[in-house]
Each structure stands twice: as structure tokens, then as C-alpha cells.
Amino acid sequence: MSVAPEPEGAANAALNAVLDSQWQGVPALVLRSPPGAGKTGVAQRVALQSATYLQQRCMVVTQTNEQAYDLTRRLVTNRAGLPIYMFARKGLNLPDDLRHHTGLRMVERTGDLPAEPSITIGNAAKWSWIDSADPMFDMQVVDEAFQLPDYKYHLISNLAPRHALIGDPGQIDPFVSCEIERWRCDPSGPQVSCPAALVKRHPEVLQLALPVSRRLNEDTVGLIQPAFYPGMPFRAMSRDRSVGFQVAGIMPFDAALDGVAAGASIVMVELPPQITGEADSELAQELVASIIRLLRRRAWMSDDGRIRDVTPADIGVVCAHVSQVNAVRERLGPGLSDVFVETANRFQGIERPFMFVHHPLSGRADATAFHLDAGRLCVMLSRHRIGCWIFGRQGITQQLIRFAPAGDRALGIDDDPEYQGWRAHLTLLAALSNAGRMFPAVYGLAPSNAA
């Protein structure tokens, strides 16, 4: 009888396979990664191997400047002393820590791109402006590739003959603002994420998956994996994540805090039912008050054996809409300015020990594809290392039942993201309700029964 390797061993074996594929010279590798599996670390290692041992010119594609900065920070400290190039527009306002780094060289013009083995980082938009139809690199690494629509990948794919597309297939699909009915039945259409389109065109390309999440703990993986990654099993690396409080709880929200301290990594905090629209000032106020309560109870955390007090920088807030982000930010005040508040789209690739989530369906009278999107909910519920509190108005289950997806399917497309999202929302609410993880935000409010 074979024994499943320990998480650490499984993660190492997966990395070995990825690095080895580059020595085999495969034309393309699609690497699927669950949340927090260290995919940016893999991109870093693939790029370093490419430029050093394989002596290649390697271009790294990110989706945003922030992602480019993050990867650059990891790469500029490489021990080989390899200079890292950043291909960016003139006048780009670099973060302070990168601006004066001696290992970073800025490139603004195509003619100045390095001709020797090297690593050059740039965002997809910048790469697409190169006036050349010929390859200029040997290797192309695309980080967060599932966020890149195929038509944008098309614009940059001929810059290198070999490709590694690394990303999380469970997150938010690429955002396309225009009407796409023309390509709706095309599973490799220009609006589809580039790894999915590439695999559809060339099913023989090498596909690998990372089997371990370093960020999520066992309890969260138990909720997230079946709901959002049914075809992609993965485990948690860590068993040692916890939070505790030096001050006992007496306020309504304290029960939700104590629930996480008792080992429930995801809980829901319910406000009285109300149709509020996109901006819900009461919910934003409650959410901020809860953050303050977390800190006032002098929380401490244990994260993979490191024990310390919780600070505002350990806390993140994720919302569906920018207006909700603003509503929270405006209420945080100067003492909590280190709390990171963003939309789900911009939270991709970012983690915090503790997350506060504004439920995307809270306070709404309808349930649109945007708010049902499984990818959006998955991002929101997979940013935390220790604990996650979901804030929402009561009645979401009833709302979901009222707005069951119409089943508008496209010929030739197997996926139905709206239905998958609807199902994931119901599954999650039922799981939280069954496990007694619904907590009222105010006294006298009975928890919802979504089971």
C-alpha cells in the first residue's frame, strides 16, 4: 500500500517536476496552483534557473505593476548576483525600496533590452507595446496567468518560443468589458484565460499542479477545496495556526472572535436583514468596530510556530466593489491605516493572517453573475493564514434561492460559472450553518439556518 507523502515532500516533488520540465525543453508548461501554494516563488525559481543554469534570456510577465514589484523584490536579492531588469514606462513611480536598489536596472526602450542571459520583468500591457514580430527572449514566464485573457497573451506570446503559464484556476476570470457574444461558444476564444485557451488548442502541453497550500490551514482547506477546486485535490502544509485573546469577550462580536480562537478558521457574522444596495454604511461601521475589538482584546497569534501580538498590518478587508472598499477605508482612521483594504480583484496574490470579508451578496435585492462568481468568493475566502470573518446581511440563502441561475448555457462550453458560483455560495452557507459558525452581530438576532 502506497503512503501519501507528507505535504512538504509533495510540494518538493512538484517543484522538482517543474524545474525538470525546463531541462526537457517543453514548449509550454501550464502550472495550476491552489491559493497560497507559492506560485510566485515557483515563477521566481523557474526564472532564476532559466537565466543561470540554462543561460537563457527570460522574460517575466505580470498582470499589474504591483505584482511586478513583488516579484522584483524576490529576484533582486538572488545570490548569483544577477542584475534584474524591469521593462516599464518612463517616469514610473517605483516603491522606495526598489528605487535605489543596485540590483535593479530599468529599461524603457525595446532597444535597451538585454541581449545576454538575464531576467526582465514587465507587465503584460507593457510587453504588448513592443514593435517586433520576432522572438526577443528564450523563455516567457507568465505569473497569475489565469488573469490574462487569451487575446492579450496572443500579443506577447511570440516574444519567446517557450512558455510557463503559472496561476490559480479557481480565482476570478479575466475581466473583459466589452460584449463577447461572438466568441461565447469558443472555448479558446479571445476572452478566455490564456492557460485554458492554450490547453484547448494544444491539449498535449505539459500540465502540472501544486499539491499543497502553504497559506491555508487544514480547516480552511476542508471548506475551500471541495467547494472551489473539486477536480484539483490539495492539502494544507501547516497544522500550527491559531489565535488567542488576553482579554475575555463580552460584546456580541466576541463570540465570532472566540469561534476562530476555538479553531473555526472561517465564520460568518450576520447583521439584520436589509436591502442596502452596494454601499452599506452600517455593515462597514460594524466591520471596522470588529477590527478594533480584535485589537482591543489584545490578540496574539501563532503562525507556524512564531508567536506574537496581532497588529493592524496583520489584518485585511476584502470587498466586491470599490465603493465598499472606500466605505471601510474612510472609517478606519489614522490608527488603523496599516489595515489593507481592497477589492477581490486586487487582493489576488495577497495574504494576511486575518481577513474581514464583505459578503458580495449582502444587502442586495438580486444575485447577478458578478456577485455569484465562484472565483470572486474563492479569492475572498482564501486570503487568510489564520482566521476569516465574513460579514453579511441575513437572508442571503433566500436571496440565492429566489435568483437561481437561469441556465443560460453556451453551445460547446462545458463550464457554467454562474451556476458553479451559485452552488458554491449555497454550499458554503450550509457548511457554516451546519457547523454552528453563524454569529449574530447584535444581541437578540437569531442566527440564520442555511442548512
Partner: protein, 476 residues
């Protein structure tokens, strides 16, 4: 929830038993030479044309009917009759350096025309193929933001009015017109119910089909003589004219309502008209140059089309926020437009003749879509941009600080007090052409990733470290 103004307007329409205008400016270009095309297909034959009504704005319809569109020769004869009408119209528009505009009754009729265009393009008959190509211009433009080539009357009216019925019900042109011009002294719902009895789509009523149309077609096929056949042909023509003419007339009425001087000019439409003329010329030139119109896009064509559509969305939104009052107010409610009172202007002297300016605005909006680093442009007056450097909540107000980029001279002359609107930059229509030209260069060689053949693996000949992972980890 995104458009509370529209919800409020629909409630008001319900309360008043009459549609309410939701804009004061015209939302579509109406070409004086626009043509109305009303097509009827046969039940079960989605891509057929059983009857067609065609005419200019304010003109009576020319009606063409075939006894049975399933008889291919008859169907093609009808389509061949339509070809010279469109050929002449397109040629006239090209000579005038403008664009053709076709009005249909509803979104369903629009979809029917689009489907027909796709089908006719691939027939063996050159004339039919040509008609399909001409209609394809309208069909391919219809999903593009800001297009003015193919207009559905219901879609255009809905941009101007809100009714008290559900949005899907607004797709019936006659009920929509009934809400806009309700009969005096009659209950609106009774009037709408009566209007619903009249077919306004691309199909005839099933009851009518079984009681009138199908027997007439059967009689036509069973006719023993040419004279008898001609009699039944005329009978079918008459009964279908009774269906197609009211749709044509309702479409005319929609155009007349939207041409009324009550609708103020909308400068953003001038840009859209110019853009449409250029698109039309490009399309016709490509046909003359022999470029094929495929049914499915190649990856390259798909990439270029979707990129152009995305830029069109951005440009149309930017244009509307600048020139259209209702769009601006919707932007303020949604938070995509920052409306704030200018509280103060700070001048920073950085060196000899080197100044920076910060504008501080106070806004009472509670749904602002703003982030630090966002670039916003003044939507009226001087050409001035700011980069948002700080956002802070103070009681019921949000205080926004922005560093002036373009327009420092204008900023220097500003004084505190006025309310200002900031939003996205001005539309850049020539930028679409520049982008497509650049994409054409980039994609001249099709990459293997978007072709048919997967290249072979090419193993590296270099010496491989014994412990590869450890060797790479040592580099991090």
C-alpha cells in the same frame, strides 16, 4: 442596484401610467437618410425571409412577399430584389462620406438580421452573398459600444424613456410606444394588453399561422393552374402585409419620436458619427480589396476585434460623461465621477520656475470609486488632470487631494468654492486605429501558441546540477 436613477424613473412611470423621459439629450444619431427594414421569417424557418418592408425615414414601405420561403428560388428572388436597394444606399453613403443606418423594430429583429447576414454570406449565389456582406457591416457593428449602423427601435427608445413594465416587456415595440403615448382616458394596462396582440417581432402569431397563413400556403401549393397560384400568392401577400406594415409603421413612429426637437443635441454623438463613417469606409474598402469575411474569427482577428471593442467601450463612456448630462449624473451616483467642492489649492515651490499644485476637494458622495494614484480629468472647462494622492473621510464628507498633472496654469488661476466634476480622460478614437496598426505589426508572424502545431521539446545540452532543486534554492 447600479442604476438607482433608472429604478426610480420606472417607479415614477408606473405611478403616472405613462413613460417618463430619463434624458434630455438625444442618445442616438438619426441619419436623415436612414432606412427601415422589417423582416418576417416563417415559423420553424429562422433564417428565412417571408416578407420584407423597406423604406426611408418618413417614406412609405416597399413590401416584398414570397408565397413560401422554403422554395429556394422564390426566396432567392426576394433577396435579389433587396440587393439593389442596399447596394444603392451604401454607395450613396460612401459618396457622401457618411455611413448607412438601418433601423429594425427590436433586439430580436436585430439578431435575425445578424444571423441572416452570416448565413447569406456563404451561399453559392454571388448576388445573395453580396447582400449578406452588406448586412454583415450592420451585424458586426451592432455589438460594438457606440455603434450607429444598426439600431433597434426598442433599444433606442429605452435609452430615452423608462416605462412602468418590465425591461423584457419593453422589447415589444408597440407596448413601449403605448407607454410613451398612452391613449387618453384609457387604462394603461388595458391599452398595453391590446398592443400586445399585434406582433412586433420577426415571427407571425401562431394562431394566425394556423388559421390564416398555413391554409393559404397549402392552397398555393395545391393550386392546379398558374392563375389559381397567382391568386393565392396575392392572398398571402395581403395577409402578410397586414403583419409587416404595422411593425414598419411603429418603427417609423419611434424614429419620429426621437427626432423631435425636445431632445437637445449631444456633442458626443458627433464623434460617434465620425467614427462610424470611418469604420464604414474601412469595411467597404476591405470588400473591394477582396478580403474574406469568415464565419469564425482566427485568433488574430478575434484579438483585434475584442481589443477594438474594449477601446470603444472606454471611449464611449468617456465621451458620454463629458457631454451627456444624464450620463454624468449617473456617474456621480455610481461614483465613477467625482463631484466635489474645491476647498483649497496648495502651491509648492520646488525650485526656480518649478511649481506643483495640489487641489483639495470635498465630496458628499458615498460610493466613490477612487484609489490613490488614480488619474482624473476635469470634465468641463480647462484641460486639467490630477493624480489622487490622498482620500480621507471627515464626517459625512470625503476629502480628496490631487496633484495637478496637466493644466498647472489653469490650477494656478483657480479659486476655492466651485463644484467641480472629475472623471476619465477624453475619448481617443484615433487611438483605436493606432492600436490596431501596432497589433498588426506584432501579429504578422502567428505564434505557435495560437496556431495548429505544437513544437517539439528541445532538451538542454547543458550540464545539469545533480540536485536540481537544491541548486536553484541556493540562488534565491
Amino acid at each position: 442596484m447600479a442604476d438607482l436613477l433608472h429604478v426610480a424613473a420606472r417607479l415614477r412611470a408606473l405611478q403616472n401610467s405613462e413613460a417618463v423621459p430619463i434624458v434630455s439629450q438625444r442618445q442616438v444619431v438619426i441619419q436623415s437618410h436612414a432606412k427601415i427594414l422589417t423582416l418576417l421569417s416563417m415559423a420553424g424557418e429562422d433564417t428565412s425571409v417571408h416578407a420584407a418592408a423597406f423604406g426611408g425615414f418618413g417614406e412609405p414601405a416597399q413590401v416584398f412577399v414570397v408565397a413560401d420561403p422554403r422554395r429556394r428560388d422564390d426566396q432567392n428572388a426576394l433577396l435579389r430584389t433587396l440587393l439593389p436597394l442596399f447596394d444603392a444606399y451604401y454607395a450613396q453613403c460612401r459618396a457622401l462620406r457618411t455611413f448607412p443606418q438601418i433601423w429594425v423594430s427590436s433586439a430580436g429583429a436585430l439578431g435575425h438580421l445578424d444571423t441572416l447576414a452570416d448565413r447569406l454570406r456563404f451561399t453559392d449565389e454571388p448576388e445573395i452573398r453580396r447582400l449578406g456582406e452588406l448586412w454583415t457591416y450592420a451585424g458586426e457593428r451592432s455589438p460594438v459600444a457606440g455603434q450607429q449602423a444598426l439600431i433597434s427601435a426598442t433599444g433606442a427608445l429605452r435609452l430615452h424613456f423608462a416605462t412602468g413594465q418590465q425591461e423584457a416587456e419593453d422589447e415589444h415595440l408597440l407596448t413601449l410606444l403605448t407607454w410613451i403615448e398612452p391613449p387618453r382616458g384609457r387604462d394603461i394596462f388595458a391599452a398595453v394588453a391590446a398592443a400586445e396582440e399585434t406582433p412586433m417581432g420577426v415571427k407571425t402569431d401562431p394562431g394566425f399561422d394556423s388559421s390564416s397563413l398555413q391554409p393559404a400556403i397549402t392552397d398555393f401549393h395545391n393550386a392546379k393552374s398558374d392563375a389559381e397560384r397567382a391568386f393565392h400568392q396575392t392572398r398571402i401577400q395581403q395577409i402578410l402585409e397586414g403583419v409587416v406594415r404595422p411593425i414598419y409603421t411603429a418603427t417609423q413612429r419611434a424614429m419620429a419620436l426621437l427626432s423631435h426637437p425636445r431632445w437637445r443635441d449631444n456633442p458626443s454623438l458627433d464623434e460617434l458619427a465620425q467614427q462610424e463613417s470611418e469604420e464604414f469606409e474601412r469595411f467597404m474598402q476591405a470588400r473591394e480589396d477582396g478580403f474574406f469575411l469568415p464565419y469564425h474569427d482566427s485568433p488574430k482577428a478575434g484579438a483585434m476585434k475584442i481589443a477594438a471593442r474594449e477601446r470603444a467601450v472606454t471611449n464611449v463612456e468617456a465621451a458620454m460623461l463629458r457631454h451627456d448630462g444624464a450620463a454624468r449624473e449617473r456617474g456621480v451616483v455610481k461614483g465613477s465621477v467625482l463631484r466635489g467642492q474645491l476647498v483649497s489649492i496648495h502651491e509648492h515651490h520646488l525650485g526656480p520656475r518649478l511649481y506643483e499644485y495640489d487641489l483639495v476637494l470635498s465630496s458628499s458622495q458615498d460610493s466613490l470609486h477612487l484609489r490613490k494614484g488614480d488619474e482624473l480629468w476635469l470634465l468641463e472647462g480647462a484641460k486639467l488632470s490630477i493624480e489622487v494622492t490622498d482620500i480621507e473621510r471627515r464626517g459625512p464628507f470625503t476629502r480628496i487631494t490631487g496633484r495637478v498633472g496637466d493644466g498647472k496654469r489653469a490650477a494656478k488661476r483657480m479659486t476655492a468654492g466651485p463644484a467641480l466634476d472629475f472623471g476619465p480622460g477624453a475619448p481617443d478614437w484615433p487611438g483605436v486605429g493606432r492600436m490596431l496598426a501596432r497589433m498588426g505589426t506584432r501579429l504578422v508572424n502567428a505564434p505557435w501558441t495560437h496556431g495548429d502545431e505544437l513544437p517539439l521539446a528541445t532538451p538542454s545540452p547543458r550540464a545539469r546540477p545533480a540536485n536540481l532543486r537544491a541548486a536553484v534554492e541556493d540562488l534565491t
